[in-house]
Amino acid sequence: MSGVLAEIRGLAVSYDASDAGGTAALVDVDLEIVAGERLAVIGESGSGKSTLALALSGLLPTGAALTGRITWPGLASQPRPGRDIGYVFQNPDASLDPVMSIGKQIAEVVRFNFGMTWRDAETHAINLLGRVRLPDPSAIYRAYPHQLSGGQRQRAAVAAAIAARPKLLIADEATSALDSVVQAELVRLLDELVSTDGMTLLFITHDIALASSFADRIAVFQGGRLVEVGPTRRVIGMPAEAYTIGLLVSHIDLATPPLISRSGQ
């Protein structure tokens, strides 16, 4: 673990102040992202966890008002989106162009960022498709998004996100739309990619158990505020806030007492 990659101080974001309520999406957030760490951001819908990711990557929609400060001690300059920050969305269809072959989309990222020739970019892209464990990468290179399954599309989206070798990879509910088996595989893949490449991972999820399975630190958000942040073992083992305890209690896994036995059936 080296220095700090990004430092967030007093960050507040609100969408469209003219709208009813003028709700703030983030309020007074102080958070450091340590270079090389796997930081899980936990929250339910409306917690502001996605807004945090959008603010970090400069992808906030026009009209959103941002105050506070995000500095990047870990980067030489302000981050270039797509180059220094890779982004994987919940829905792979939102990030993949439906009428361009998978490989071409990835090769284009490589060409744009590293100035490679098409031939080198193709080799590089096929290599990347192999790294995200897609079967038969050269066939996938020529495939179009609709020809792949949901899990395969998300792997392709991961390949595109890491193609420019970003310092920070943001996975925004990247596994939530997938079934549990594919989700577990993708989490394993992300974990492995960030450790071999020395990337920093910001893993945004509503599932605290999923986060606890591999994150170094956990930050819990609720209603736009950072409720608590700390090492995974501490947050899971000794949660400081009632809200975190609530999340842990409502988690359902194979150790949860079945509801029907309680009802006496």
Partner: protein, 265 residues
């Protein structure tokens, strides 16, 4: 009155996709007793949603038989089928998509009361209030638009709508998958309570075996259009025999398990 509310025998279904025949169901049989919950678990593409929709006659199977409370369901047509629909209902995954975007809460609940002539027109408002209260909602929500309430409230309205016609069976297709973790538990509690009070049978479809385990008396594991394993919930979860059953169990995210990490328990 037969003991089995639903008996499906050898159901098959295939879809035409890009000129190819894709088998969605490959001879599926299952039996459901009154007041019992069967969990249908499987990865995406295993055919569980197709099966769920066939059970409520939203999709026609190609072959096989379906008996609802001793009545040959597949032989029913037109007005007879519509009358029979009172007794088997469905709750969908995305409560926002499952309501007409222009509907109000009261309007959505009035539909089944009117269509199935459950109560007279003058009793309808009080019946709507009763339904809202049964699912733990305030009657003040009645005049709100479906888009103006939270996701958890919306799924409660969907359950109230299914309850409105006083059914014997409700098919729940990933009914809690899109909900926040803290809401999910409450909805599951509600479903179990309703079952205990009314003796409703559930077909509970999910990709998450941990959630199914909490509510189902029996589990049927599906893969590639077939039920590959079925049995009482505890034994299937404890020692799955099929390969897909084993990976479904393995894929459940677990909170850090060391007991000393969990001082609050």
């Amino acid at each position: 009155m037969s003991e089995d509310i639903l008996v499906a025998t050898n159901l098959t279904k295939s879809f035409r996709r890009a000129g190819n025949r894709v088998v969605a169901l490959n001879g599926v049989s299952l039996t459901l007793k009154r007041g019992e919950t069967i969990g249908l678990v499987g990865p995406s593409g295993s055919g569980k949603s197709t099966l769920a929709r066939i059970l409520v006659r939203l999709i026609e199977p190609e072959s096989g038989a379906l008996a609802f409370d001793g009545v040959d369901l597949l032989a029913q047509r037109g007005a007879g089928l519509r009358r029979l629909r009172r007794r088997f209902q469905m709750v969908f995954q995305d409560p926002l998509a499952a309501f007409n975007p222009r509907a109000t809460v009261a309007g959505a609940l009035a539909d089944p009361l009117r269509v199935q002539k459950i109560v007279s027109e003058s009793e309808r408002p009080s019946e709507i209030v009763r339904l809202l209260n049964r699912v733990g909602l305030s009657s003040s929500l009645a005049d709100r638009g479906i888009g103006e309430i939270s996701g958890g409230q919306r799924q409660r309205v969907a359950i109230a709508r299914a309850l409105a016609s006083r059914p014997d069976l409700i098919v729940l297709d990933e009914a809690v998958s899109a909900l926040d973790v803290s809401i999910r538990g409450k909805i599951l509690d509600l479903l179990v309570d309703l079952q205990r009070q009314d003796g409703i049978a559930y077909v509970f479809v999910s990709h998450d075996i941990a959630v199914v385990r909490a509510v189902a008396h029996r589990i049927a594991i599906m893969d590639a259009g077939s039920i590959v394993e079925t049995g009482p919930t505890p034994s299937v979860v404890a020692a799955p025999r099929s390969a897909i059953g084993q990976s479904l169990v393995a894929a459940v995210p677990r909170l850090l398990t060391e007991q000393d990490l969990l001082p609050y328990e």
